[in-house]
Amino acid sequence: MPGLYVHIPFCLRKCRYCDFVSFAPPYETGEYTEALKREIELAARACHLRFDTVFIGGGTPSVLPHGAVSLLLHHINKNFSISSPTEITIECNPGTVDAEKMSEYINSGVNRVSFGLQSSDDALLKRAGRIHDFSDFDRAFDLAQNAGFVNISADIMAGLPGQTQESYLATLEELKKYGLKHISAYSLILEPGTALLDDVMAGREILPDEAEVWAMQDAGKEMLENMGFLRYEISNYSIPGYECRHNVNYWKNKEYLGLGISAHSALRDPSWTRRENARSMKRYLELINAGTLPVVKSTVIGQEEEMFECVMLGLRMVSGIDLSEFEQRFCQSLVCIYKSALDKLYKKGWIQEKDGNLMLTEAGLDMQNAALLEFM
C-alpha cells in the first residue's frame, strides 16, 4: 500500500554535514503548515490513494509549535483514507521535545518516533553542529516512553569529524540500555553545498579515512547483531517485526506521495511517474497560493528504468527482491532480463537466490554500487 511523506523543513540550526532542504531561524512555520494543509487538500482531490504509513520527516518536525502536528495529522485523516495497521512516524531532534509534544503526537495517532541522535559523544555532536547532547537524548527517550511510545528508533552515524571506532562503538554500548526497537546506522557523506565540505576543503576539518569508517561499520554491525538487532537493509537494523514499513515501501519501489517543500513522489499515473515539489519556500508558497500542486518536475519512467529502480532499491534490502512480485509487475522474469549481470555477480559471489527472493550476499551488500553497474 502507498506511503505518505510530509516534509517539515525547519531546524533550530543546520548541521554542518546536512544537505536536505531545511531552514534555520528566523522562519514562519505557521504559513508553511497552512500551505501544507492546502497541499493535502489539492493532492487528495487529484488522487485517491489509501495509505498505511505516514512519515513526518525533515528538517526537524519536532520544532513545530504545540498543536501543529496534530492539526496536520487530523487534516490528513480527513482528506485521505488511512488503513490500519498504520505506521505513523515522526522524526524528532532530542533537543526539541517536551512531554506535551510527546503526548500530542501519540494522541494524534503517531506510533513511531525516530530520534536523530548520531552519537553519544557530546564533543562529536558539537563539532558536527548538532544542537543537542547525549543527556538530551536520554531525557527525550524517557519522555517518549512515558508518553506511551514503544516503537522508538535512533539514527547514528559513522564517519563524523573526529570520530574513532571506539567512540562509534561506545555509542552503541550506551544505547544498549534503552531497548530501542530500531537503529539506522548511516555513514556520513560529504555533500556539495554543506558547511562541512567547505571546512574539509579549506583544511579546517578532517574526516576519518574510509578504511576507518568501513571498520566502524563492520564492528558496529557485529555489535548490533549481538544486541539482538537484525540488519534488514544496508544501513538499517531492527528488532524483528520493527522494520520501518514506510522505508521498506520505498525499497520495494512502491507508490508514495510526498508533501511539502522538496518532497518527492512516485505514483502510477497510469505510467510510473516520479515527481518533485518546489525546493524554494517562495516558489512552493506561490504555487500553493495559486491553488496548484507545487510539483515542479514530473518524469515518466520507462519500463526498463522502472525495472532498474526495482533492482537498485530492492537490492538494498537483506531479503532482496521478491522474484514473483517482480514478474507480476513487469510480466517478465528478472532472471531472464538481467542474465548476464547475474552471471557476473554469481561468479563474484555477490548475489544469491533464496526462497524465491534474489538478494545480495554480505560481500555484495558492501559493493552494492559496483553490483548495480552490471544492471545498467
Partner: protein, 600 residues
C-alpha cells in the same frame, strides 16, 4: 586592367600573442570600408573559434583593402595575416616573403617579447621594411617612452615617429595606414616575365577544393592557364583566380605584385605546398623562388578515442583537419592498453595542442592522448639504423649501440630578476647554456641548447610559472646529438602498459619513474583488489606504489524518497567506467594517460 604596381602595398603584421594584431587588422578594414560596419565581428581574420579564444592566428589569411591617401591617391593594400607562433616559423617566413613590408605591433606596457624578436629577424631576413607601431596606448600601464627605447635598443629600428595607437578604440590607426603607403615600397617584378607565384598558404574550400594563396612575384595568371608546381612537378589547370575582399571574389587575372588565390581543382591541400613556386607550364620560369622547405613533423603522440566505438569518427575528423593542414600527419596505430588509434605528427607543441583541442571541440570527440615523443635515431650493433617516434618501437637495449635525439636552440627573453630560476629550469631540463645578453638594464635573452624531448612536456608551463608569466620563449631545431636514453615502462598489476612508456635520459629515469608512479597511484581508482604500480627500465623495477583495494562501495545514506540522486550517482559511476581502459585486470581512467604528461 591591372592595378598600377606603384600603388600596391603588400604587408603583414607581426606581433607577440595578445599584442593586438588582429584588432589592428579589424580597424584597418573598418577604416578602408573593406567591411561594412554592420558585418564587423571582432577579429574578422581569425575565423576559427580557437583562434578567437586563444587570440592567436593559426592559418594565414589575407585581405585586400583600398586606402585613399591624403595625397589623393588610391592605394591597394594587401594584408597578409601570419600565424603567430614558433611552431609555424616556416609558414611565417613564407608569408613574410610574400610582402615588402611589415607592421610591427608592440604592446605599450609589455614591450618587446621573444617572439616579437624572432619574427622581426624573419622579416629582416626577407628584407622587409618594418614599421613599428605602439599599441594599447590607452591602457593605464602604457609606457610608450620605454617601449620606443626598447624597439630602438633591442631591434635597432628608429621608433621615435612610431604611431602610438589604440587598435581597440581606433586612436591613430589612420596614421598607420599613412605610414604603410609612404614607407613600404611597391612590389617589383615584371608582369611580362614568366610566371612565378609564391604559395604562402592553402585552405580547403568545400565547393572549390584546395585553394592556394599566392603572391605573384612575376608574370600573370588567369583561369584556363596550365600551371606547374616547381617543387613537385605536378601540373594543373587553373579554374579560377581571385582576391580576398575579405570573402573570396573571382577576378580575371592576377598580375605581378598582387596577392590572391588560385583555384585549380586540386583535391587536397597536401598537394599544394607552402613555399612552393607556381609557374606556367608552357613558359616556365628558370628557377623557383628561394626558401622552399619540405616541412617535417617534429612532435608525435598517439591519439585514441576515449570510447573505442568512436574510432571511425576520429579518423574522419583527422581526415577533415588534414584537408586544411598539410603539416598534420597521422597513421593508424594499435596499443595494447588503448586499442585502435592514430600516431599523429605535429610541427610542434602548440600545433599538437591545437589539433587535440579542435578534435575535441569541433568534432565533439573524447580523446586519450599519449605522452608526446620526438623522433629518435637509433644505431644498432648490427649496423642497422632506424628512427622511431613511438617508444614502443624501441628495440631491446642489448641491440642498441647508441641513440641520438634532436636538440633545439631555445631563446628565452625574461626580466632579469627571473634569470636564476629560469637557468635552474633549463639545467633541470638538460639544457646547455650558450649565452646571455642584456637587452637593457632589466631584460635579458638567454640562449640554451636543449633536447627537444625536454621541451615537449611542461617546459613552457614551468617557464611561465617560474617567471610569473613574464618570460617568453622561442626555439629553433638544431641537430641530432648522441644521448644516453632509456625507455621507462610502467607495469600495472604486473602487466606492462604500453601507452605509458616514454623515452627519457638515464639520469632522469629514476626521478621520473617515481613521480609518475605516485601520480598514477592518485589517478587510478581503487579496484576490488590491490594494484601494484611499478616503474621499470629494461626489466629492472625502479619504483613501486600501491593502490589499495576498495572494501566497500555502497551508498549508506538514504535520500528519503529522492531516488534520482542515487540514480545520478550510479550513472556518473557508469560513465566513468565507460572511460576506463582495461590494462590486464586493472581499470585505468583515460585521464591517467594524460596526467603523466604533467609531472613535477
Amino acid at each position: 586592367m591591372a592595378y598600377s604596381r606603384e600603388l600596391i602595398r603588400n604587408f603583414c603584421i607581426i606581433a607577440h600573442i595578445d599584442h593586438g594584431k588582429s584588432t589592428l587588422a579589424d580597424r584597418m578594414m573598418e577604416l578602408t570600408d573593406t567591411v561594412a560596419l554592420r558585418d564587423m565581428e571582432d577579429q574578422l581574420l581569425d575565423a576559427m573559434q580557437i583562434e578567437r579564444e586563444r587570440g592567436i592566428t593559426i592559418k594565414a589569411t589575407a585581405v585586400r583593402m583600398f586606402y585613399t591617401h591624403s595625397d589623393g591617391k588610391r592605394y591597394m593594400f594587401n594584408l597578409i595575416d601570419t600565424p603567430g607562433h614558433v611552431d609555424f616559423t616556416y609558414e611565417v617566413s613564407r608569408s613574410l616573403a610574400a610582402c615588402e613590408g611589415a607592421v610591427l605591433v608592440v604592446d605599450a606596457s609589455q614591450g618587446v617579447e621573444a617572439q616579437t624578436l624572432a619574427n622581426v629577424y624573419l622579416a629582416l631576413d626577407n628584407n622587409l621594411e618594418i614599421i613599428p607601431v605602439i599599441n594599447k596606448i590607452d591602457l593605464p600601464g602604457a609606457q610608450p617612452e620605454r617601449v620606443i627605447r626598447e624597439i630602438e635598443d633591442i631591434i635597432g629600428l628608429p621608433a621615435e615617429d612610431a604611431p602610438q595607437i589604440s587598435a581597440k578604440t581606433g586612436l591613430n590607426v589612420e596614421k598607420v595606414l599613412e605610414h604603410i603607403a609612404d614607407m613600404i615600397p611597391p612590389p617589383k617584378g615584371s608582369p611580362e616575365d614568366p610566371l612565378r607565384a609564391l604559395i604562402f598558404d592553402c585552405i580547403y574550400d568545400n565547393y572549390k577544393g584546395a585553394l592556394s594563396y599566392v603572391r605573384i612575384m612575376e608574370g600573370r595568371v588567369r583561369a584556363g592557364m596550365r600551371i606547374k608546381s616547381m617543387a613537385t612537378g605536378n601540373e594543373f589547370d587553373v579554374t579560377e583566380v581571385g582576391v580576398f575582399s575579405p570573402s573570396l571574389k573571382p577576378i580575371d587575372e592576377l598580375t605581378a605584385g598582387e596577392v590572391g588565390y588560385i583555384c585549380a581543382s586540386i583535391k587536397s591541400v597536401a598537394e599544394t605546398k607552402v613555399g612552393d613556386t607556381i609557374t606556367e607550364s608552357s613558359r616556365p620560369a628558370k628557377s623557383p623562388l628561394p626558401g622552399y622547405k619540405h616541412v617535417q613533423p617534429m612532435v608525435f603522440c598517439g591519439i585514441y578515442p576515449a570510447d573505442g566505438a568512436d574510432y571511425e569518427d576520429l579518423r574522419e575528423a583527422l581526415d577533415k583537419l588534414k584537408l586544411n593542414d598539410a603539416s598534420l600527419s597521422f597513421e593508424p596505430e594499435t596499443s595494447v592498453a588503448l586499442g585502435f588509434g592514430f600516431r599523429c605528427g605535429f610541427l610542434g607543441l602548440l600545433h599538437m595542442e591545437i589539433i587535440q583541442e579542435r578534435l575535441e571541440r569541433e568534432f565533439d570527440l573524447d580523446l586519450v592522448t599519449t605522452a608526446p615523443s620526438v623522433i629518435y635515431k637509433i644505431k644498432k650493433y648490427s649496423g642497422e639504423e632506424l628512427t622511431i617516434d613511438n617508444p614502443t618501437n624501441l628495440p631491446p637495449s642489448a641491440e642498441i649501440a647508441y641513440m641520438e635525439e634532436p636538440v633545439v636552440e631555445a631563446r628565452i627573453m625574461t626580466p632579469s630578476e627571473f634569470i636564476g630560476s629560469i637557468m635552474e629550469l633549463c639545467q633541470e631540463k638538460r639544457g646547455i647554456f650558450k649565452d646571455m645578453s642584456y637587452l637593457e638594464e632589466t631584460r635579458v635573452v638567454i640562449r640554451y641548447i636543449m633536447p627537444l624531448n625536454e621541451i615537449i612536456y611542461d617546459f613552457f608551463d614551468q617557464l611561465k610559472s617560474r617567471s610569473r608569466g613574464y618570460a617568453s620563449f622561442d626555439y629553433e631545431m638544431k641537430e641530432y646529438m648522441r644521448s644516453d636514453l632509456v625507455r621507462l615502462d610502467f607495469l600495472l598489476n604486473g602487466e606492462m602498459c604500453d601507452a605509458l612508456s616514454t623515452i627519457v635520459h638515464r639520469d632522469k629515469a629514476y626521478a621520473k619513474g617515481r613521480s609518475v608512479a605516485e601520480k598514477l597511484r592518485e589517478v587510478i581508482p581503487r579496484q576490488q583488489f590491490e594494484v601494484p604500480i611499478q616503474a621499470a627500465i629494461g626489466g629492472r623495477i625502479i619504483a613501486r606504489e600501491t593502490v589499495k583495494a576498495v572494501r566497500k562501495d555502497v551508498l549508506a545514506k538514504c535520500y528519503g524518497g529522492d531516488i534520482t540522486r542515487k540514480k545520478k550517482l550510479l550513472e556518473k559511476q557508469k560513465e566513468g567506467k565507460k572511460r576506463m581502459r582495461q590494462v590486464g585486470t586493472v581499470e585505468v581512467p583515460s585521464e591517467a594517460f594524460m596526467s603523466v604528461l604533467r609531472i613535477d
